[in-house]
């Protein structure tokens, strides 16, 4: 057998394995409608989540976000999203909503974390609602994130 055929065959075998995992991940994204359906908590103490918890997040449009819900949101310019609880919701008649969040363990709301001048969170900044979590499973991912390149790929969130 020509060496190129052997090489291609081997490469494709690996590529198929990787592609299948990738496609399964993408279908999870599609199913939950959330760009990051599974996240690992990086720091503990400010919320009822601890270091290493694995969070399951969904972002269905019909699932309205109410005060008391724990959400994952992203601030402009920050790469790592934050998971805190929504404490106030402002809703206009035309459907426009904005949110105020606060970490459970914090004594002040998150306005200090938002961008300069921002007092409320927009709906687009919210990655999704936390539906459940699995403790400790994410510790391995945190170990991996210490490697230089994998940093950007891994899904982490701070509380």
């Amino acid at each position: 057998m020509h060496w190129s055929r052997k090489l291609i065959s081997r490469l494709l075998r690996y590529a198929i394995v990787i592609s299948t995992l990738l496609m399964l991940w993408k279908s999870l994204i599609l199913a939950t409608n959330c760009s990051q359906p599974i996240l690992v908590v990086l720091s503990g103490g400010y919320s009822f989540h601890n270091l290493g918890d694995l969070l399951f997040v969904t972002n269905y449009p019909a699932d309205s976000i109410r005060a008391g819900d724990v959400v994952v949101f992203r601030i402009e310019g920050r790469f790592i999203p934050i998971v805190h609880r929504v404490i106030r919701v402002h809703e206009r008649e035309d459907g426009y909503v904005k949110f105020l969040t606060k970490g459970d363990g914090n004594s002040v709301d998150d306005r200090g974390l938002y961008s300069v001048g921002q007092l409320w969170l927009e709906r687009e900044q919210i990655v999704g609602k936390v539906k459940g979590y699995f403790p400790y499973l994410g510790l391995f991912i945190i170990l991996l994130s210490n490697l230089p390149l994998l940093d950007r790929l891994l899904l982490r969130v701070v509380t």
Partner: protein, 194 residues
Amino acid sequence: MSDTAAGVTTADKPIKVNKWETNAVKNALDDACKKYFKETLNFSEDYKLMDGRLYISFIACLFSGYALIYDWLNPFPKSRAILILCVIAYFILMGILTFYMQFIEHGKFYTGKLVDRAGVDPVSRCTVSSKLKKYDDKYQLTLDYNDGTDKTTKSLKKSIGNYFDENGVLCYDRFTADIRKMYDEARLNARKAK
């Protein structure tokens, strides 16, 4: 310990495998069979079956690569439609690939054709497939011989203990002797059927 026969070319060190590992044993036997067909019987290998599998895999990887790149450039909510398309296409292709490997390829690891030098006989084709169940020692080798006009199928089912010694070294001669017998029977059968 048996060394390879004089009829075989170049640096042929005896193949040694882990005799308890079914996959390795099957692969060793399949490779030896392919080698025999190619070197001794002078068949030229036909890659159509394998290429079909490679093409399907390649197209599937193209879809997944496209989804990856598109999603990287246009983060999630924007790439939704393309993602749905690529994911569905990918899994359909995986289904096709599984079907292909299960039913169309079905254990066939070698397809070869023999072109007669004199140009008198029509091209004869051989398709060889093998089966070795997971913790079983019975290796079944099936030869489909197509003479251009008639087809015969011959198979042999023997314990791998016939071909491997205690250290897991493949006794090439014993294996090829059996293959040769089967091949000759098939040829005879085809001639008789004419």
